[in-house]
């Protein structure tokens, strides 16, 4: 199949891109890396009348340190670049660990960091990981800009708070606190296929080796990323013993996720995987926190 005709714009600045979005509204679609959008165009599952291609907007391609020990990533930064960037490895080890697991090398050559977030596929690694890391997203429109935390950005299946005239331009990753540990685990039919169930974890220990903060975000078990707040609360203030970890993983898997059934896995199987993965990921994350 081939895409239906569309009007094509390839702006070179954000200002210009925003003007096109303001003009065409819901008729326009933003083209970032295109690794999810172009398949949908090829199959004519999507037939936008206007495409606004960001690939020439050079101001959106960057990885920068921020002064607080965190990172700023331009929305168009290629996944391949994030994967190989030493600053990302140092300041956002969870992102560094996840990057090679995203799709295939050829997809990461074109796919972008921000594109994956704006697409909001509930099985996307970057969606869950950015939420686990408490990332904040800078959205711009002609009317101005706003910062939205990951917890509020994703609102459902392939749906975010982005208005049709708004563009995700930047992602801010906060600095990792001392004594933090992280983990990302997922189950796929084959390496790099879409995830059946997965979880991203970030934990911080206090000086008594008790859990000070915990974030536990699941992918592929709901309409969007699932932030298991109750399970995280069960751990905060506790010593993360195997029993405490097991109880939190069970809480998340039985009460907080809402997996569906499809050709790849039943809801029941996904729930089982979520529980096992959460237990393993929490164990790994707390081990790393103790070591660091």
């Amino acid at each position: 199949m081939k895409p239906a005709p569309f009007k094509y714009y390839a702006p070179t600045t954000v200002e210009e891109a925003l003007a096109h979005l303001a003009e065409y509204g819901y008729d326009a679609k933003v083209l970032a890396g295109g690794q999810s959008l172009i398949p949908m165009l090829n199959f004519r599952l999507a037939q936008p009348s206007v495409l606004v291609d960001l690939n020439n907007v050079s101001e959106l391609f960057y990885i920068r340190p921020d002064e607080n020990g965190g990172l700023l990533l331009g929305a168009m930064t290629r996944q391949r670049q994030v994967e190989h960037d030493p600053l990302v490895a140092e300041r956002a080890p969870l992102i560094h660990e996840v990057m090679p697991q995203i799709a295939y090398p050829q997809i990461r050559s074109r796919g972008t960091f921000g594109g994956s977030l704006a697409h909001a596929d509930p099985s996307a690694e970057l969606v869950a990981v950015n939420m686990a890391l408490n990332a904040r997203f800078r959205l711009r429109s002609q009317a101005g800009e706003r910062w939205v935390p990951a917890d509020e950005f994703f609102v459902g299946l392939f749906t975010t708070v982005l208005e049709p005239d708004e563009l995700l331009v930047e992602v801010a990753l906060p600095a990792m606190l001392p004594r933090s540990g992280w983990a990302f685990l997922q189950i796929t039919r084959r390496h790099h296929d879409f995830c059946i169930a997965g979880v991203a974890v970030l934990v911080t220990l206090d000086d008594k080796d008790q859990c000070e903060q915990a974030r536990l975000v699941f992918l592929s078990v709901g309409d969007g990323p699932v932030n298991a707040r109750q399970a995280a609360e069960m751990l905060v203030g506790q010593t993360p013993t195997p029993e405490a970890i097991r109880a939190a993983a069970e809480k998340a898997a039985s009460d907080e996720i809402d997996p569906g059934s499809d050709i790849h896995a039943s809801a029941e199987y996904r729930r089982h995987l979520a529980k096992v993965l959460a237990r393993r990921a929490l164990t790994q994350a707390f081990d790393r926190a103790r070591g660091g």
Partner: protein
């Protein structure tokens, strides 16, 4: 009918200029506009890897790009790799280790593996399998392909 755009692109060292619709996929541009039919089209949704080319030196799916996006860029397709008289070491190794069966997927494998071997001249079997995870061979000849890559790595090293 959408507007037409001029695409000036370098493919395998040769400059081309064509006027195309923006919806024309890069894979179709290479095949139908430039006559470079070595780039194969399998699934057209980014799963099979048969259309892999080097875009500014990195492997990319040409079915998931528009020809207009190649304006001002450089592409290497399988036609630019070697000639029948003077095969690329990877092509030679595919031949010797029976890495090509029906041959449909082969150009995509080659274009994925050329940069991989440049970055990693001494790969383990697991790394090779990881590198070709985005390419499908429906003759299921993966073992021969892995053997071919190992052989190619040896050839390049010696």
């Amino acid at each position: 009918m959408s507007d037409l755009f001029t695409v000036a692109v370098t493919v395998n060292g040769t400059q081309y200029e064509r006027t195309v619709e923006p919806r024309l996929l890069l894979s179709d541009f290479l095949r139908h506009e430039l006559g470079l039919t070595g780039t194969h089209v399998g699934c057209e949704h980014g799963v099979c890897g048969a259309c892999t080319v080097l875009f500014d030196g990195v492997p990319a799916r040409s079915c998931l790009m528009f020809a207009v996006q190649a304006n001002g860029h450089e592409i290497l397709t399988v036609e630019g790799l070697g000639t029948p008289e003077n095969l690329h070491p990877l092509q030679e190794a595919f031949w010797e280790a029976h890495g090509a069966q029906c041959g449909f997927c082969t150009p995509g494998f080659l274009m994925t593996l050329v940069p991989f071997l440049e970055e990693n001249p001494n790969p383990t079997e697991e790394e090779i399998r990881e590198a070709i995870s985005g390419n499908l061979c429906r003759c299921t000849g993966y073992q021969h392909i892995v053997d071919a890559v190992t052989l190619a790595a040896e050839k390049v090293r010696t």
